[in-house]
Structures are given as C-alpha cells and as structure tokens.
Symmetry: C2
Subunit: 464 residues, 2 copies
Amino acid sequence: MKRIKIKELLSNSSQYIDQQVVLKGWVRTKRGNKHVAFVALNDGSTIHTIQIVLDVAKFNEEQLKDVTTGACISISGKVVTSQGAGQSIEVQGDTLEVIGVADPETYPLQKKGHSLEFLREIAHLRPRTNTFSCVLRLRHAMAFAVHSFFNEKGFVYVHTPIITGSDAEGAGAMFQVTTLDLKNPSKTKEGEVDFTKDFFGKATNLTVSGQLEGELAAMALGEVYTFGPTFRAENSNTTRHLAEFWMIEPEMAFYEIQDNMDLAEEFLKYLVKYALDNCIDDLNFLNEMYDKELIERLKSVVETPFVRLNYTEAVDILIATKQKFEYKVEWGIDLQSEHERYLVEKHFKKPVILTNYPKAIKAFYMKANEDGKTVRAMDVLFPGIGEIIGGSQREDNLEKLQERCKEVGIHENDIWWYLETRKFGSAPHSGFGLGFERLMLFVTGMGNIRDVIPFPRTPQSAEF
Amino acid sequence: MKRIKIKELLSNSSQYIDQQVVLKGWVRTKRGNKHVAFVALNDGSTIHTIQIVLDVAKFNEEQLKDVTTGACISISGKVVTSQGAGQSIEVQGDTLEVIGVADPETYPLQKKGHSLEFLREIAHLRPRTNTFSCVLRLRHAMAFAVHSFFNEKGFVYVHTPIITGSDAEGAGAMFQVTTLDLKNPSKTKEGEVDFTKDFFGKATNLTVSGQLEGELAAMALGEVYTFGPTFRAENSNTTRHLAEFWMIEPEMAFYEIQDNMDLAEEFLKYLVKYALDNCIDDLNFLNEMYDKELIERLKSVVETPFVRLNYTEAVDILIATKQKFEYKVEWGIDLQSEHERYLVEKHFKKPVILTNYPKAIKAFYMKANEDGKTVRAMDVLFPGIGEIIGGSQREDNLEKLQERCKEVGIHENDIWWYLETRKFGSAPHSGFGLGFERLMLFVTGMGNIRDVIPFPRTPQSAEF
C-alpha cells in the first residue's frame, strides 16, 4: 500500500474514514497504559500530528519499547473517527515497524520547551521541533510567493554573480574569496599579494548585492529580479544581522520612484496575504506560542494603505514630538531604529514609506532630485522590524553618475560596464532590496534572525 | 496613458486594433526612406519586435537621427493591421521621445551576428541580443518550473549554507572564504595560519553541495529541496565547467532508489514540457539559429520512457560493441563521456538511468548494496549532455556509514551532525543533484555553459 502524508490525511479526512492507510513519520510523544498506547506521529508535512492507537496486546513488547520520542516508524491501520478530544480522526494501528530508533538517554529533543539558544546549538535537529518546522514551511511558502509574484508580472529571474571582482556597491565589509595558499600567498616584487596568481587573476569577494548586475539585465529585459545569498563580513552580534543572508532585488526599466513604491507595497502585501492564505496552521502555532498579536499584525499590513512621507516631513514630526530619543534628530541624520519605530508604531500606527533622503547618507547610484540636496531613495518601515525594504530610483544620467562616482571615490574603471548602461540606451529605472530574513522575522514573529534561517552564519559560528 | 508591454500587445493584438498605446523599449533596427521610417522595437518581454511606422514629415529631423540601434525610445500611436510581411499588426507613431541615445560610432551591438566569444566580453550588454534574451527568459522559466514542481508536491525549499566549515562532501576543490589579511595572516606559534582569528573562528570554504544539510532537513520535513549556488575551484577551461553554478538538490525521506529514479524522470519531463508549453517563441528562435533538432529533442524527452539499466549491464554493452573508445571499458571504471553518449545516442537512442555503480568510484554516503561491491547510485544520462543528474539512495545505517567514513578518511568529528541523523530516527532516504546550467544547455541547445548563465565565473575571469 502506498504511504500517504499526514497533511493529505487530515485535509481530506472524511474520505479516508474506514480506509486502510500507511503512514510514516517520527514519534512526537507516546502515552497510554498497559492496554493501549497513543502515539502522536508527525511527518513534517504539517504542524499537526495524527494519533495512532495501538492495542498493546497485538504488538511485540520489545518493539513497543522502541516507539519513543524521535523514533521513525511506519504504521498501517484503519482510519476511524476519534473519541478523544483534540482530533477528529485517529488511526487504529494494525502493523508497526520501527524504522529508526532514538535512544531516550541520548536523543536531545526529549522534553518540550527547549530554549531557542539551545536549539541553535543543534541546528541539525531543530527542524524536528514544532517551532522550526513551522518556520521552515513558512520560509518555503514565502520563497515560492516571491517567485509567483514576479512570474505573474512577467519579471525575469536573473542569477547575479556570488563571487565578484567589484566592490563598488559599498554596502558593507566583504569576505575575500581565494585559492591562494594562505600560509604563503604569492607576492609581487614589491611584497604585495600577487592576485594575478589567484583563481580569477584578481582579488575577488563575496557579493553584498546583486543590484548593479540586476540593472544591466533590466536595461535589456525590462523587469527583472534577483533572489540569492548576499554577505557581510561585519562583526555584528545582534538579533538582526547575519553574515550570510538572502536578498530579493527587483530592478525595473521605466519605473520612477512612485512606481517603485507602488510595487514595493503591492509586493509586501502579496507576500503577507500568501502566508495568511496558505500557512494558517503554522501561523496559529506561532501566534499561540510566541506572539499573540502576530496574525492581527499580518492582517493589518494587508489591509492598510502604507503612509508615504518625505524624509524632511518625518524629521519635522520627530523634532516636534515629546518622545525622548537616544540619538538627537536633525535634518541630515541617518534615522535610527528608534526613530523609524516611533513613526511606524506610535505616530502613524501603520507601515510607512519614507522618500527623498539627504544625498549624503545614501548610495552613489541613487537619482538626484532637482533640489541638489536629496535623492529619490525610499525605505519601507514595518512595525516591529524597522526598515524591511530599501530602494531608489537609479541615476540614469551618465554625467551625473560619473560626477557622483568621483565625489565618493569610485574609479570609473571598476564599473565601466555599469556606466555603459547609461551611455547606451539609458532609461529611467528603479529597484529595491528586500532582506528575506527580515521578511521572515515579520511573518513568523520570531525575535532573532538566527531562528528564521536553517543554518545561521554569524561571527565565530559556521557549524553544520 | 499607461505603457503596455510588447508581449501583451502581440498576445492580444485583436483587442488593441485601432487603440492608442504607449510603448517603451529599445530600437533593434531602423530602415525606410525620405517619407517613412520603420522601427523594430523590443522591450525584453518577448523575442518579437513590434514595427513602429513613423511618417517622417511629422517628426523633428534631429530627433529621428537619434533613433538608432540600441537607443531607448517611448512611442505613442495607433495600433493598425500591418500591410507588410512578417507581422500582423504595427503601430503608427504619433509622438516620439528618445529617452536614451546609443551612439552608432561606439555602441558595440551594431551589426547582426556577433560571435558568442565576443558577446562574452560584453556580458553587460549581451542580454540585449535576441540570443541572450531568449536564454535568460528560458532560464527564468526553468527556475520557476523547478519551484512549481516541488511546491505542487509539498516539498519544502531549504536554503542550505553557502559558507561552510565542512569539506566532507568531497565533490571537488574548494574556494577559501576569509577575512584574514592575506598579506600578513595571523599565525600560530607553530607558524600555521591562525584560523581562530578568522571571521568564523575556523577555516571556511564555499559550498560544493547542499546535500548533507538537505538530508538533515529531509529527516524532519520529509521532502525538501535546495536551489542555490555551488562552487568548484577547479582549473577547468571547458565548455561544460563553471567555477560558480546553480544546483537543485532534492532529498526525500522514505524514498528508495526506485522512487528516486521515478522522481528524477518525472522532474526532467516536467521541466522540458514546461519550456515547450511556455517558451515556444524563444525555443523557435534558438531552434532556427543554433540547433535545428532542438525542439524535436525536447519533445522526444517528454514522450520517451527513460531506459533503466545497471552499471554492470551497461559495461557489458560497451564491451560488446564494435565502437572504438579512447578509454578502455572494464568493470569498475568511471564511465567517460564517450561511453555515456554511446549508450544514450547510439545504443538506446533515448535517456538512460544507470544504477548500482561500483562502490569505489562513488561517494561515501551512498547506500551499499548487499553484494558488497556496488552502491545504490544513479546517473541520468541525456543526449548531447551526458550526465544531467547524479543521485543515490543514502546510507541510513549508522555503523555502515561510520565504516565508510573510516575507509575514505573522513573524521567523524567533522560530520557529527550528519551522523546523528542516522543515530536518531533514521529512515531510508534518497536524493539527487541537477546542475541547473546542464539543464539550460539541454533546453536551449547552446554549446557552451558560459552562454547559459548571465555572468560566468571561470579561471581568470570574474568581470562584471
């Protein structure tokens, strides 16, 4: 008989009543008495377990002893309406096979309620917990929703390079990638590292953003997006930073800053709505266990138009309020998390898109406004998260872009290929970046970014 | 008026007849005479161009001069039935804006028929060619089909780590990732590189495969897959190798080798059928320009059951044939491309799945057969490509796996977390890897792997 998944059984339970089924999965708990044993079985397809009822007299005692938390078993039996509370159906076991034991003396996931810190140390086993199976199914759903959203709109998914010889994006400290002998690297006569001997014939790093390459593709294919890993070699041990994380970066020809904001808002609402529509069981669990306002907050984002506001107006609001901030507010500062969260959580009580930031605090490629002081940047600020999206209209005028490169010290030789998109068939275009793990923090309600990625990479930590 | 994309206009042309539209895109060609100019406009949404007809008398002469190959323009005008050959509709231009010029003296993509080698040197512009826009749209379609296939089946997409402290997979030479000062790396008293001073506190590399981590997730979530970049620091300058490429790696609990073969065959057929169903315009172009048998070959893969054959039987066939091979065939050898292609292209004339390979030529994690000599490996061999998928049932018995680690010199300390999946709740499971660029070679008919990825990374080459 073909095995069915527990999600399938529970979703279509009425059609399985009185049918024989085969189930395979891992034991979450076993309880009972001398006559009957109740096994809660999970196979990862859903947060829910199915109750297996075993008539103790029908089974070998030794075999039943091996049915412990974490053990892998196969069961065949009949689906019946459950008499117990908490489930509508259960399976009366006919045959039982213990596929893989889990010694109760050594299996680490015995008791309920391990700390998240402890679970990080056993990241190879934590997907077997309710919490992480929820997070990982939601992560899948969000990734699929990203691709579905852009595919429906005719965007082209572009794999921008991970290893890069360019460091012009300037988004942060980079990891070096090399095949040189670290103990005795080749040196030039002048005693410098001789990168001509390295694999790529020059110094290379891990990318901090696929944006610049994404723009190249947008100026040919119209609307594109990237979705890939990006890296920061920053020694930040916070609940918000990873050394390796995933980014989604759409780039669109013929989009001005307003179109960019429209797309960002539509995109975020689509993603959150997708989670509510497709993952409500997992969200209910997380809402119950970690964050009682999670589902309310998700619904509110889907239903509420985002506030759109100039940076300058935001600064005025922050100066006018009686709220005390650690960092003083004045025009020109890079807003801190405390400022962003005040605007979103206290002042407007809804998501905010800030635009037209001071030129001096934003990247070289952002389109200059005519005031000479601000650029067409936009940040989307979310409750509980702060900045979830950062983007801008891109400078499409070659001379202005060259001037800006000079101002910030970028050599034209290093990004000749980027500049050529402005030289040949240039067009207004825009784009933004969504940190996938920031999105996952928002959608799951988890508090630490290490808990929304399967195997976190942070300073001093690259296990598994 | 809102701009529409050319794909939308051409797909629903009858409903746009006599309507005013706004189109934006890049000029492919301009021809005509003193009275009328015909502009072929492309916006990346489709391989097709739309013909714009400009009554020369209605436009500024200087402006028309700027309408050259590669220039970006915006046009508004009326859609009419075309009198000319080669298109059913055209647009009579009313207003014209040249958004970005492309100086004919310097714009590199002037003439038709640039060599693929030349286009690699201008990878920032080659998406603007017909060939690469086709390849990139197909690449998008195949990536989306991968996600759709697994999502429909309830698989969970798992982002396995890119930076890894483990090199146990042993699939090839690795790139080092470091923040140490390459000129003067920290050294221990013994004069060795002191990796405790490195970012992660130990030596780290770029992953060669997400399989081991994928297995961890499969033993919790049941069915998972990865789709991410992988790396080989091998000095191979061939048409089949990249230093950075994308891999898809499903891992499934409770799948034995037959289930694994079933999934691989279904998966490949789904992908190829998706291309035929969704990208026929792009395929027609590639079929016409590069490979007259492309579409026939794709259809044949969808329709033909794959041959399934033991390695031993394959060796017998290769020994029995009169065909001369460069490498002599005997039981135990790793089959060469010439052998694989003989089986697929000459002997069977259809895709072949080879199984039960000699233990000695396969990886440590593959499940041993009872004969003690072979393992439950499988390779899927494709016409024109050779191996497109490699996979196996995984060794799920802890003792056998430990023994195998010892034989091949892998220290248990380095993969304690991998071994623990066999210690706690182990289950039969299987998986495979599909090189995404191998798939793209097959689907596009292109001959060089550098031409199916936007920005290829190869020895001595990491531009853009």
